[in-house]
Structures are given as C-alpha cells and as structure tokens.
Symmetry: none
Subunit: 125 residues, 2 copies
C-alpha cells in the first residue's frame, strides 16, 4: 500500500512518499502540493523518496511536473533521499530530470532552499 | 467580460488581468505594456493573474512574449498570483515558461524587482 504525507516545516512543504504509488495517487499529489504551496505560501517543496525502492517513469515524470508547477508558483522543489538503485534505474530510462535539484536528507534539502534548519533533531517531526 | 488595468507603482507597471481575455485583448496588452515601459521608464512589469481561473496557451505565450519584449526594453517581468490549477494546466500543456519569474503577491514581485516593499502587510494575507 502506498501512502503520502505532506507536512509544513519552517515555510517548506515536506511530502514523504512510501510504498508503491498508483498513477492516480501521483497525480493527486501534484494537485495537493500545488494547492498547499499557494495555501501556506511555501517557499519550497521537499519530496522525500527515501522510502521508495522503485520509481517508474510515470512517477518520475510526475515529480518533474510537480517541480515545474511549483516553480510557476514561485517555490522550488528538491527531491530528497533517492536510493542508488533508483538513480541508476532513472538513468537507464533516460530520465535524468535535468534542472531538478536533489539532496541527501531533509536537512540538506532545507539548506538548499535557503531555509536554515535550526535543529537537526527536528528533522523527524 | 475581460478587463485589464495598468497602474504605475514605485517605478514598476502593474497589469491586472481579470476575466477571460480574448486573443485580441492579450495582443493589445502586449503593445500597451511595451509602450508604457518606455513611456514611464519602468524598471519592471508585474502581471497580476490572480483573477484568472484559466490561462490558455495563447495567453501563456503572450505573457512569455511580453516578458521577452520587456527584457529587450531593459525591464523585467514578474508574473504574480498564479493559481495552483493554472500552474498545473500550464505544465500539462508543456508551457513551463522557462526563465519567467513568478511571485506570490504584488509585494513579493516588487521585492523580486529590487523595489523595496514599504509594507509587507499590504500583501493581502
């Protein structure tokens, strides 16, 4: 079963993806995030995919579309926690997601967004 | 009914779009803005589309053309107040408007242009 949670953290949205997302859930995530970016006035979106063992081409494209929509809404997207096997699969699929920013951890992602993380122990909030 | 108003604000032009713009009105806006940028010596143009529930591909291209013309006239364009559903539609249409700057509010847009915003509480939030 797939699950997605969206939390607000210091002016950014953190979307945590778990399990296998259906295509419908991926599209729903795109809409939810776009509305949340405007709703809370977020400066950035972190998409935490550390819980995903597999990213198929549909999800990769959806993440790319989320980044494009977020950019139009004056916020920035960072993909966080990609596993090595996912990175290799994406490259094999030709989906190198040019222009998309990545970070190893949520804290690194927050720093990339220019949002100082006051306390690294707050990461798991 | 569509309406467009152009105001001068601290050396910038603020074009506010309401309702559904005809293609002719969009082209007229492009000409009016180009003349106004030179006429008042504007440093930037804010295009406020917060009143638009829909941006079709013609209007998106026109906004992009306005930004290009404004840039040639030594001013900068910021698109302000895009709604989430508009962002998603533009991405679906493949119109990610690369290089175009966006801001959430007129005040944020003025800040992006380097024009100090006198009062952030005027943002409307």
């Amino acid at each position: 079963m797939a699950s997605v949670s969206i939390l607000e953290l210091d002016g950014a949205l953190v979307a945590t993806l778990q399990g296998e997302l259906t295509d419908g859930a991926a599209v729903g995530l795109q809409q939810d995030l776009a509305e949340a970016v405007v709703g809370v006035g977020a400066r950035g979106v972190l998409i935490d995919i550390s819980g995903l063992e597999l990213v198929d081409s549909f999800l990769a494209r959806t993440i790319y579309d989320i980044a494009a929509a977020t950019s139009l809404l004056a916020a920035e997207t960072v993909v966080v926690g990609m596993r090595p096997e996912v990175a290799i699969t994406l490259v094999e699929l030709g989906l190198t997601l040019p222009g998309l920013r990545t970070a190893r951890t949520v804290a690194d992602g927050m720093a990339l967004l220019g949002i100082a993380s006051p306390n690294r122990s707050a990461e798991g909030r």
